[in-house]
Symmetry: C2
Subunit: 189 residues, 2 copies
DNA sequence: TGCAGCATGTAACCTGTTACATGATTAG
DNA sequence: CTAATCATGTAACAGGTTACATGCTGCA
């Protein structure tokens, strides 16, 4: 059986939500629409195809509610394989690319960890995230020192915000690691 | 002539860079690869098709350097239409959707403004951004107060970071507006 | 002469967007 | 009964990723 990794943030978010509670496609849409996960697509043209893909890969299975009607209602839940794939995707080592181009993917991954990944796994993830972010921050800061003074106003201001954003991420990671270390081992798992 | 608006961040970034200085496709790749614009794609499979689209729409034109060879080198520059379209795309009103789903697009837009958009245009943009961000921040904060306490550790921590991020954006906008107001009118235009 | 880096591109594929379509259920 | 909302979907399209292919140029 080949290794499973979930490619897109949307699929990851769907799997993560279904891990917490089985839901229909419409239920997922409502979550994306009404909660803080608004950053992800609530469009049926994204969700239903994604669900079909996940089912095809054996990561989820649906039980049809209202059989024999023309408009069945289908509730999806993770399979064992789906849970394993989700956990594997969440705990994958944090790369430079993750930090530079998929920052929100990183926060999404962490947000889904409780209940699926133990405290050690979360700490390892945060350590990786901290290291990669600090490395990249150094690069950005060096660039800001070198090229910043020559940049026009708006470019410099935007770059400054970018640098500050990575600094804030580092602060968040450090704080979250501390909070997590203080937690009783079982809590949040 | 129909109104031009640039759809994707990559196209916007390309137009913005070409507005500063004509460049070849490879030149653009190098910028994406070696500067703070690493968040955008440096892959030829994205850049060259985008350049062809922009040329097809009459927004840029290329002058071939090494004619008669099998491997010509082409330097692209904005057309008048391209500059107009770029300015229109940069100064488009800031929407809620921009804030929630296209935050980096907003910073990209602002970063490209100097030299193309006057101080009043920049201030209008920042005012719009501030209003929309504050509105959404209120929504997020309310959600955090309501649902935060019940969330598992990692979900709560990630949501907290999200809220803090929008707060930081508001602070940045306020500061940048002040800095901009202090600037001599001509500077940074 | 050969290799590294400059420079341009294509093809297959995947995912998401927009817009449309349609049936089922429930509150007034 | 009817309108709103629940609920599921499709089709056309746009855009990006990955992997591959190829020629040119300067230098050791």
């Amino acid at each position: 059986m080949k290794r499973i990794t979930i490619d897109s943030n949307l699929s990851l978010a769907i799997l993560g939500l279904l891990a917490q509670e089985p839901m229909s496609g419409y239920g997922l849409r409502k979550v994306f629409l009404t909660t803080a996960m608004k950053a992800w697509s609530d469009s049926p043209g994204a969700i239903y195809p994604a669900l079909r893909r996940l089912r095809k890969d054996g990561l989820i299975e649906g039980t049809v509610q209202r059989e024999n009607t023309l408009r069945p209602r289908e509730v999806f839940a993770l399979t064992r394989r789906g849970r394993a794939g989700l956990v594997a995707s969440l705990t994958r080592p944090v790369t430079r690319e993750d930090v530079v181009r998929r920052t929100d993917g990183l926060f999404l991954r962490f947000s889904l960890m409780s209940g699926l990944v133990g405290r050690d796994g979360m700490l390892a993830f945060l350590r990786g995230m901290e290291g990669q972010t600090e490395d990249y921050l150094k690069v950005l800061e060096a660039e800001f020192r070198r090229r910043g003074p020559g940049l026009p106003f708006s470019g410099r201001a935007a770059l400054e915000r970018g640098v500050e954003d990575f600094r804030a991420t580092v602060r968040w990671v450090k704080k979250t690691r501390m909070d997590l270390a203080k937690l009783r081992t079982t809590e949040g798992e």
